[in-house]
Amino acid sequence: MQSFFSGPELVHYARHLSLPGFGLEAQAKLKAGKVLVVGCGGLGSPLLQYLAAAGVGTIGLIDHDVVDKSNLQRQVLFGMQDLGQPKAHVAAARLEALNPHIELRPYTESLTRENALDLMRDYDVVADGTDNFPTRYLVNDACVLLDKVNVYASVFRFEGQVSVFHFPLPEGRGPNYRDLYPKPPQPGAVPSCAEGGILGVLPGIIGSLQALEVIKVLSGVGEPLAGRLLLFDASDGSSRILKVPRDPENPLTGTHPTQKELIDYPAFCRTPASEDGPAAVLTAQCLSPEAFARWRQEKRSYVLIDVREAYEREISHIGGLLMPAGQILEQADSIPRDIPVVLYCRSGQRSAKVLQRLESQAGFRNLYHLEGGLLAFAREIDPTLPTY
């Protein structure tokens, strides 16, 4: 088996080879292993670095996004020189420098119902580090349909979750995401990282735990978190492991499976398939910064609502009532219905989502949102406005 590795590789992996219980055999399994990492963000950054460093032979990495300044607080694969570049390409170049003995396959498209099965088919393990519910259900269902192991991790503010789904156990495949969460939450009920905030070091910890699980699954060393959910709370350093049973009602793997193929996930979750993805809002309801400035100048009658978080308002604002996106539905009764209401946020993404939510769930018909948000307003109208 030694000849499976070149001389430089044997040096590269020397500390694994001398590790009792790991050694050449486990290292060879890593080299033969093929992992697809979905999402090169906060979780993907440590996950990819440790998988590449450890010598996982083939690593696919998929992310449709480009590097943004607000990523650098936690996405430690990227630096200032990478701003605006596709994450998958930057990450692949970084990993190539980290370990020249592995094959890297960057994909810059979104993972969708149309391409998921073809993209995932060639891999042994999929590691889900995405940032939204539709893609989490998509990754899960595709893994179950293709019989791939899905190493799952997810973060929120100070907390993380890790588990290994659809892992082969003596009694059959272990539970999957739908056993854990049969139904997606209502849109807006669970804030995304952009809305709810995230402690930068947290995905560093959780993404590293995710890498650990991938390495255990591939190498056969240790006991993966199959049928168990690890909860980590950074605020007090505590962790818990909970046993997850299979749900007989699971539409894929329950006692009477009803789902045999992938479904329309954005519709299933009723939300755009990316936390930063554009929400479709009628053009007539998009108020350009220029148009909004004119409304102000003409002293038209309207109500302005800031849907960001309180801490964001402290940094910068253009007035209006503060009603954070996560709680605005509960405050809907205090929003007027008889005069125009203009919603705004940092970039125009959240305000568009809130607009849709207020229309579909509270029946509003008098809403506008400031296109491009504060960022566009600062760029086009008021350059003195602080941006972040």
Partner: protein, 80 residues
């Protein structure tokens, strides 16, 4: 039944803390607990898949809750 709830994720916002004492008059089961919780904290209904673990195990709606049980509330989270 009176228990201490260990809240994770967004349920901390809804309940107002990480550990919250909760007493309810209805049946001492997971379903009874959730029904009372949703009455007192209506935003919980939006979670659809709020899961409850008793001690170290995920519980089903009919699982009964006894005094001293550790109740963990686990909502879905999606961040990455």
């Amino acid at each position: 039944m009176k228990v201490t709830l260990h809240a994770y994720g967004i349920t901390r916002d809804y309940l107002g803390g990480r550990e919250v004492e909760f007493e309810w008059p209805g049946p001492p089961t997971v379903a009874g607990l959730l029904a009372s919780l949703e009455r007192q904290y209506p935003p919980l209904k939006g979670l659809a898949s709020l899961r409850v673990a008793i001690n170290t195990e995920y519980a089903s709606p009919e699982t009964s809750i006894g005094p001293g049980d550790e109740i963990v509330l686990i909502p879905p989270v999606s961040g990455g």
